[in-house]
Symmetry: C2
Subunit: 347 residues, 2 copies
């Protein structure tokens, strides 16, 4: 029995990805054609909350696969300081579920005014954001009723991945994208006990999530889901940044969640895992690598075979289920976290 | 009696800023002249740890005052993925106390290979980073012996601010910079009891720091100092992002540290303060605004009159003293946090 909207929407994700792949490709290819005709010198991605974590995926995606340096926008420049930077020759992408937030709209509007190539990625194509951009990629995720984003996050990742594949004109990439709905179904099937396992951390007062590369976005998004639905501070870190500073916090009281899908291994991430084991911190591992899972206190399995650039779409799913289980175990209501509205209008 | 290197180096900051202003201007002006002759289309700043928080200041500084869109580099692109983005026409700045970290050196080296305008900001001009860049701005901070960065952080902020002033050819800005050493002296004098006041939070297991705009960097750096020296997770948030999501964590158990210097007021930041008061969360305020300080449980005073763009240099000082006091109250040794080496070589 599905008891929460949050869980229902987690389980809707394979179908939502399928719909976007089937119905959204034309809009993506139109945007990609336009951008191939007028290549961007760099990219600026504007977003807040979960959408900003999707943008963080875009930093690696466009950087690695399309050779585009990507800046995450600092929207206060456009609204609070009225001092927009030069955006000529840039690709400017606004990402927002609702398409409502004035600061995100302001970045895209300014980009278009300066002649940048503008794209909106939103679940509401008729929104102010959709109207501000030259090209609109509609997420087609259906209404998201839980306040914490799930299916709009994974469809945002997919929209970015489709745009990257379109830009590269990469037929192999499109074939890999087509396999995603099944991979998410497999991930859900492999994680039937994840929510129940999360309950062992119900007395803990914090969490640190760690990753590197593409899944830095996943570390951020899992931390945000846990903070929103469980009301405890969760801190995301790149394993490289963690080793440059705050390893002192690694103690038995603080669970460490490693996002470590293969096949690529990061020496920094292995070092963090070793350190956490030496210090007696509980380890939660999201991975498809046997030796990582075996050593973890809680093993959250990913199906093998997903190409690295698409693992953020599968790796977030166990994180969502972990947040669900921890939220319920802590007596919270994951559908409507206290103080969080579905649409937030920041300037 | 100064008992720790950490405190001694906090108190050395006014003199370190004075030295950089006096001895570093020529190198800055040379870099600025070169860049004015060949204006950059955008900027990429590469750094880790505290230096990355200085880079975050650079995002706002160059964005607002020099109209440059700024990307924080994702160094794994250059090292782990061997897929550097196009950097032609970019300003590429590497920021590192030691100048040793191979991933930061790799970004600058690649920028130079592609013909970008490269600058190193480092305390060790003969380091690999100093050798990789066309222009070097030496911090002249003297040896930093405490592991957690203080005087190298504020001199990095100053080096960026000097570069921005040089780029803009702005005489008024240079005059404002000259007032900084005195402003830091005043900040130290106004915060004699800050370390002692921090001890009231010795039983707390977390902290959230909040700011917006220029001082987003300060929220990150205070969170990092507290995490490093006190071994508790501290989470930095933009007030806009906090309102888009994780406000559920605001509870009596979690102190909220607001970085809110005036004169600019951010409605989002006021909303966070109101929410924290309603929820009964202890509030620590770093500010020069009377009404903000009066309502706070712990008021950390800034001297009035510092122009907004330079407040990150004063606002970090009470944060450093807060971390010092909390560290000692928790029985930690702030000079040598467990597991943290002064030089970290991530790839």
């Amino acid at each position: 029995v599905t008891r929460t909207l949050f869980e229902a929407e987690i389980r809707e994700q394979p179908a939502a990805l399928r719909r976007l792949l089937d119905e959204g490709r034309d809009a993506v290819e139109r945007a990609a054609d336009g951008l191939r005709a007028k290549p961007a010198r760099f990219a600026v991605l504007a977003a807040r909350g979960s959408s900003d974590n999707a943008a963080r995926y875009g930093q690696y995606l466009f950087g690695i696969r399309n050779q585009l340096a990507v800046a995450l926008a600092t929207p206060s420049l456009y609204t609070q300081y009225e001092a927009a930077p030069h955006l000529e020759g840039a690709l400017v992408v606004g990402i927002s579920q609702s398409g409502q937030s004035p600061d995100i709209v302001a970045v895209v509007r300014e980009g278009r005014r300066q002649g940048a190539f503008t794209v909106a990625i939103t679940n509401e194509p008729a929104s102010p954001l959709g109207q501000a951009a030259e090209h609109v990629i509609a997420l087609r995720a259906g209404t998201e009723r839980a306040v914490a984003a799930t299916k709009t996050y994974t469809t945002q990742l997919l929209a970015l991945a489709m745009l990257s594949a379109g830009l590269a004109g990469d037929a192999a990439a499109w074939a890999e994208l087509q396999a995603l709905p099944d991979a998410l179904n497999d991930t859900l099937a492999d994680n039937e006990t994840t929510a129940a396992q999360a309950s062992r951390f119900r007395e803990h007062t914090g969490l640190v999530t760690v990753a590197r590369g593409y899944n830095f976005s996943t570390a951020f998004e899992i931390a945000l889901k846990v903070t929103e639905t469980c009301a405890i501070p969760a801190v995301p870190y790149s394993s490289a940044d963690l080793l440059h500073g705050p390893t002192a916090m690694i103690e038995p009281e603080l669970p460490v969640l490693l996002v470590a899908p293969g096949p690529r291994e990061f020496p920094d991430l292995d070092q963090v895992e070793t350190l956490a084991r030496e210090r007696g911190a509980p380890i939660v591992a999201v991975s498809d690598r046997a030796h990582v899972l075996e050593r973890a206190d809680v093993a959250l399995r990913l199906p093998p075979g997903t190409p690295e650039w698409l693992t953020p779409l599968t790796a977030i799913v166990p994180g969502q289920l972990f947040a669900l289980g921890l939220s319920l175990a802590r007596g919270k209501h994951p559908d409507a976290p206290r103080g969080l509205a579905k649409v937030t209008l920041t300037r």
